[in-house]
Structure formats: C-alpha cells, structure tokens
Symmetry: C3
Subunit: 348 residues, 3 copies
C-alpha cells in the first residue's frame, strides 16, 4: 500500500479551532475522508459526529443544535451528544439502530481534537501540550489553510528545510544559510526531532529592529514532527556572543502546526506562530502571522502543483538526494504504522 | 438492482411546458439520461428525438427547424419529424440507416409528454387529466426547477409530510398540525393515494384574509402519486362548521407536479399550483406560485444534500421509522416494476 | 483500437509559436497527453522537456531558467538543456538517474517543433516548409486556439468542405458553390492532397474590392493534410478569363495550420493565413486573420459539441455519406499507422 492511500487512525487529530465552534454552530468538515459535524453541548464540551442522520442519511450539518442535542431538520429526529436518538416525531418508540456514529472529542488549549481509533484507547492525556496557543507569556494569531495535497507531501516539505532557499527565496529564505546549516535528526517514539543551529549569521532586518541586535546572531530551530502530522518548533535569535542556553534578550518563537488529512488529496492545516517578546504590540503578532501565512501560500502553490504532477506522471519513480534523509525515515515509519494497522484489522 | 439505478420506461413522462417550445425553438433536454431535442412541426405537433445526427453524431440541438423538418447544421442532412433523412446535400441517394431515433410525443393541457417504452404500446388516452393547467375555472403560473437528486428522493419527500414541520418550519410548516394529522394511504393500480384531513385548526393568516374565515377551519390534502412520479393533489380550506363535502366558500387548490428523471442524479420538476378562487386577481396567482416555489427551494436544498451524502456514505443502511410507511410501499412497487421490466428485456 | 485513442509518435509536431517562448519564459503545455515545458538556451535553441523534476516530481514549469539551464524551484536541483542534472544544492554527488526526459526540438519559420518518436530517427530535414510564415513576399498574423476535441474530429472537418455551407453559412460559406465544386483527392506518402476549383463564380465583395475584379472569377483551393495533422493550402482568386496557371493580378493566399494533440479530448490549433497582395496594408492582414479566426470559432462550437455527443452516445454507429470519402481514407491510413506503431512496440 502506498503511504498516501491510508490514514493512521489510532491517533488524536485537530479538527477545529475553538472559535470555529461557538454557540449554536454546527460546523461541517471532512476529516480522514469522512464528512463530520462538530458542535458543543451546553457545558461547552465538543462533540464530533459523522454528518448523517441514520433515518434517511440527510446531513446533520443542515440540522439544528437544541441544547445538548442535535435535531435533523429533514424529518425531525433528535440525537443526544453520544449519538443516540432521543426523539422521533410522531412515534413513541425509538428504533435502537437510530444512532449517529460519534468520535471522542476534547478541547485542549484552543484546539478541538478527536480520536479516530478504537474508542477504548482514547486517552486525552496523550494529547501534546501546545502551550503557546494559550499562555500569558506568548502571543499568537490563529491560522488555518486548506491544502489541496496529501498530508505526506506537506510533511516532506517540513522535513527538508533546503526548500527555504527556493520556495521562500524572496520571503523567509533570504540567504542559503538556513538550508545549508548542519542539523541533527533523531527518531523518537512519536516521530522525528530535528535540531538546526545557524551560527554567526547576519540578523534579518526585522529581527535587528525588534531585537536591537548590534552584531552577528545565532539562530536555532528545534522541532518535532509526530507521525500523525503535529509539528511543534522552538526557534530563536540571539546575539552570537551569548551561550546557547542563555536566552536573556533573545527573540523566542514557538509554533504549533497540525496537519489533519481531509482526503487523500487534501489536508487541513491549523497553525500558529507564537512570540514571547513584544507581548503588548499587536502589530508584531500580526506581522509574525503574516510572514508565516505568506510562506505557507508559497508552499501551497508548489505542493499543490506537485500533487497534480504525481497524478500526471503516475509511473514515475523519484530520485533521492541527501536532503531526503529525514523524510525518508519518516515515511518509512508511517508506512510501518499503516501496515501494522492493516494487519491488526485483518486479524480482528 | 437499486431502484435509483433504473427508470421505468413504459410510461408517459412530461418533457416540457408548451411555452418552452415555440416557433422555431429546438429545445435541448436530457431525459432518462439521454440527450433529446424537442421541437414542433408547422401544425404545432410536438416532436421528440434523440439529439444526434446519424451521420457524424453532431447534435441536432445546434440544428435548424425548417418547416416540418430539422436540418443538421454540420453537413446539412435534413430529417423529417418521423426521424427519416430526407436530404443529403450533394447526393441523390439517402442511406436507409440515416435515421434519428424518435419518441412518440403529444401535448395535453400545456404539457408535452413523451412515451419512452415500446412504441406499439403508446396510448395517449392513458395520460392523466391535468385539468387545472388549462381550465377557465382555475388559475396557475407554470413552474420548473432542476433538482440535483434522484427522482425517488423527491417522491420520498412527497410521501412523508412529516418533513413539513422541519424543512418548511418557517414557511408552509407553521404548526406541526399538518404533519401530525392522521391520514389514509391506499394503493391503486397506478400508485398511491393519500388523504389527510386536519380538523378544527387555526387558518393561516393568508387563508383568513382571502377566505374571510372567522373561526376555525378544516383543511384537507388528497393526492395521488403515480409510479412514474406524477403528483396531483386536491387541497382545500373550509370553515370547520361545514360538512366535508360542502365546498361553498371554501378555498380550493389543485396542484399538478411531474417528476421526470434527467439522470440517476438529477430530476426535472414541472409544477403548477392552481387556485379556484380570486380568479381575476393576478397577485393571488403570483403569491400562490411563490409560496410553492419557495418551499421547493427548501426541499431542494435538503434533498440535494441528501443525494451528496448518499454518495459520501455509500455503505450506510437507513433506519426506518413509522412515517416511512408510504414511501416504503411506493419504493417496493417501483422496484417490482423495474425488475419486471428487466426480466422482460432479458427474455425478449 | 479506435483511432481517437492513440497518437502517432514518430513525427514532428508543432509545440509553440516562436513568440510564445521569449527570454526567460518557461512555457507549460500538455502535448500527446504529457505535460511539457518549452524554453530556450542562451543561443535561442528551443528545449522541450517533460514538466517534472526527477527528485520529487515538482513541476519545472514553476522553475527558473538560468542561462542554458533550468532550476527546479522546490529544492533547487539544476538541469542542463539535455536533461542531465548539473547541481544538487548541499551535495557534491549528482545521482546518475537525476535526469529530465527531453524531446528533440528545432525552430523552423516561427514554429517550434518537437519529435516524439525514436530519437535516433529525428530528422529535421523532414519538417515541411511552412514558407509563408516567414517570407518577404507574404504577410500573416499568427493564430492559436485550443479545441476541446480529439484532433481527428478536426481533420474530419478539414477534409469535408461540405460543412462550409452550414457551419459557415453566414461567414465563409455564402453560396453552396464551394461545397458543391468537384474536387480531386489523391493519396501520397504523407497524407492526402485535395484540389478543388470553382469556376465562373461571383467574387466575394471583399475579393472584388481588393482584387479589382470586374467580372466572374475562378477560385481554387489546393491543400495537403499530413497524417499527423499539418494542413497547408494554396488558395486563390483570379479573373475567370485567365488561364489556370496565370497568376498575374490574382489574389493569392497560403495557409499553414498545425493540429497537435493535447489529450485524447483536446487539440492545440496553430494557424496562419498569409496573403501575397497588399503587403503594406496591415488592415488586410488583420481582416484576413479575423475571417479565419471567426470561422474557426464556428468550427470549434460544432466540433466541441460533437465531441460531447460522442461521449453521450457511446455505442452509436455513424452512417457514411458520399462526402466522407476523403476523411474515411484518411482515418483508415491513420489507423494503419497506429496499428503498425503498436505492433512495433509489442515486438521491440
């Protein structure tokens, strides 16, 4: 099986920003190639259900939230947040099969997560700590983009910073220093960790202005990418004459990015780039957001074209280069997880 | 075979309103998943043909009506209304196979009907009497909508008035009285008849104003739905103190609605709601039309979404409820007719 | 195999006008159902490559021309005009398989041609002489249209002038004289030649004005159509009292038209209608261009509709008429060439 064809199901995925689901909102969103609805009970608890009424398969996304329940607006069947039907207009009896499949959902630090694997294994304590999304020492503006590409084309991109010099030549890239900096890749239980340090480089004009650096700076990028597409990175800029662990006066960034497969050819991209300086300057928050959002548009253009080209040249093999080391290891592991999942399904 | 996959062919279907085909018009329309042209001979007789020239398969809908014939505007072949070629430019001989397949067509009371079954069995006397489309005691405004859904999703809708309280909550629905009223369903040779009476209810503001009712009213809905999607209904509003058969002072409506499959996923919806009161008040005709047209838009939104959902959840079974009684009987009968048709084809 | 399903590969095809590829332009175009890029080396030599980088299949049409090379703007791999990789950022070693497939390309008289067959057989001397595209005695305005139809539907059209009276009834057609004129069809090694003479006819108003003809004229149309869709025609208008080989005072036209398959359902149409009179009157060049361009729009509308109808009526056979003689011979020959090509591939 090609890795692009499957989805790892025993995992927590981000399905929405908290502010996308307010009050009576019934949000409609396709995840892992399945139409879902996302809404909240009166107590705020997020609910994730398949987007159909079991009676005649009308979509519940055209339905109405009524307190802790959702009503299908075709023939009026009403469902509790656990998916069970609790009202059929015109009859007393509730058919036992009238049930909407649901997924375990929780909100953590502004993101709503859902678990798509065996419900017995859903353990919210495993959800990574995306602290910078909701923390008094950090500021960020929430971002979302829909990428018309398989999620693995995006993780490929995140695992090979050499693209910075070309895709982002006129924005983030600037020099080729970042792309060429040596880096360490380590594999852990959840995915990969990549640490990249760029020493004695000229600060970007923006960094010089905000950080008041007078001479050369060091920069670092320390990130993890989980096997289900969660990317979290500490990055920073500091005077070159300071020690690596001295963050006094440094510009510190933390980014949380979640890739959630929408279909085999499209991906939800939830992201935020938080900064730990200039906390009271909203223009800094906005400009940090814009620089990331613009860069993602550059990525999107290339990756969407790559996705179309994969369909146009279906038999064509790829030729690996040295920079592919991390993505090759990552894809091998994803494929192993998908194979294990398939074997588990076959034997159960 | 799923009922949605087939079409009952031994039947008369409405293919156009009379005013859609005037003068030299050559109307192009897909019916039972086949592109057709509809035009008229000089004497007004409607003609229905497949939309291709047998020479090089250019569409005749780009052709030109010439008196009682139609000319293909690619290489000029000319065809009589019976489909036979009567001219090939540049040669005397007419190839005997140069023939456009035609369907028997007749006009009755403003609708053009075509017969898609065995031509020997085409019997125009079987066409139902849609009297209110063209009668001095009735007024109506003709309506047409294209529904992006299989015709059986629309008959489902017509056979379960419980949707009135939800889909049409803010328009036709109002109270749940109509949906909850008891009704009788009887099966006859051509389809189903449903009679629903709502007694001692409050008149709608519109009915009160036009009908000058002072107290409670009775309402009734008496309709038939044929196995090929013709819906005809007598409906009325009368003072609750009158007998059921006393129509003196009542507001009487008669509706004719024809569902003609365009493809397995789309349906032509021809409709008119006629009224037998306020004959000289065009604003009444218009407002009766608008209320029906608005309600159909509400239906369309739900049914089109349901059609998309059936494709999104292909394996999902439906869970029947009590209100499905009529539609279940109807679908069972349609399926039996389709099976019989398939067996007849197999054995012939 | 249906002729529409294949492409003759051992052939030169026009892939672009010279002015479509200027300076740093990297033109993206699908030809024979394959995405290509077309660009130039510093010396002006045209280059035709498949539109993908062998590393991760990103499209080179998003790349950048750098002198005699092209760089992929995803991860920066650089390729020479012969397709070999000459730079991989961040590493010394060039993987030997990192190579972009290329096609032999040459420019001749304003058209860029590419050879899609066995490279060993590419012989630019076989490219036909499209002299009127670039000649001091002729003037033309270059034309291009994309036709949403298989190329053989367009050669059908070019081989049966009877369509002039119907498709071009109000433009080129005028009378039925041209369509009805006798003509000779001869078959040669490369395709068909058709010679059509219309004698003693009334000059078109435009011809009368430009050519100052006082009485009747003769007109002639002498064209060849190659088996890979190159159409070249000498046409003229001369006083009817002059001998056939006396061109003194005649209005002479020469047209070059190249059909290049884009996909089985679409075709690139490169064309120019040159005139050998009124060389210094740009309004004549423009009006000659417009009359051809308008006529092609009329053809396009009919042929695109025919293409859609072939899909709508897949099983329907065509009924031949006398006017189909030339196209039938042409298609038979194309089919033989495709069969021979398939057999050669099977045995190699």
């Amino acid at each position: 099986m090609a890795a692009e064809a499957g989805f790892i199901r025993n995992a927590w995925y981000v399905v929405a920003w908290d502010h996308e689901v307010l009050g009576d909102t019934v949000l409609s969103r396709r995840v892992l190639d399945e139409p879902l609805i996302i809404w909240r009970r009166s107590d705020g608890q997020a609910v994730v259900m398949k987007d159909f009424c079991p009676h005649r398969l009308a979509p519940l996304s055209l339905g109405r939230r009524e307190g802790d329940a959702i009503r299908c607006m075709y023939h009026g069947l009403k469902f509790a947040a656990d998916g069970h039907c609790i009202e059929v207009p015109g009859q007393e009896r509730i058919p036992p099969k009238a049930c909407v499949p649901t997924y375990t959902a929780v909100q953590r630090k502004r993101w709503i997560w859902a678990w798509f694997g065996d419900p017995a294994e859903a353990d919210a304590s495993q959800i990574p700590d995306t602290f910078s999304l909701d923390h008094p020492d950090w500021r960020m503006k929430p971002g979302y983009k829909s990428f018309p590409a398989n999620w693995l084309l995006i993780t490929d991109n995140l695992l090979d910073f050499s693209h910075l010099s070309y895709v982002h030549e006129k924005t983030l890239g600037g020099s080729t220093a970042i792309a060429e900096a040596s880096h360490e890749v380590t594999e852990n239980a959840d995915g990969l960790r990549v640490l990249r340090r760029v020493r004695n480089t000229i600060p970007a004009p923006y960094h010089r202005r905000v950080g008041r650096f007078e001479g050369a700076v060091n920069r670092w990028f320390d990130y993890t990418l989980s096997h289900t597409g969660l990317f979290m990175m500490h990055a920073g800029v500091q005077s070159a004459d300071k020690a690596d662990d001295d963050h006094e006066g440094a510009l510190l960034f933390h980014t949380c990015q979640a890739l959630t497969p929408e279909s085999p050819q499209s991906t939800h991209y939830f992201f935020a780039q938080a900064h730990a300086f200039a906390l009271d300057d909203a223009t800094v928050t906005e400009s940090v957001y814009q620089s990331v959002a613009n860069a993602f548009d550059e990525d999107l253009r290339m990756i969407a074209a790559q996705q179309r080209n994969l369909a146009a040249f279906p038999g064509e093999a790829m030729v690996p280069i040295g920079a592919d080391g991390a993505l090759t290891r990552y894809r091998r592991r994803v494929l192993a997880l998908l194979d294990a999942q398939q074997n588990a399904q076959a034997s159960s």
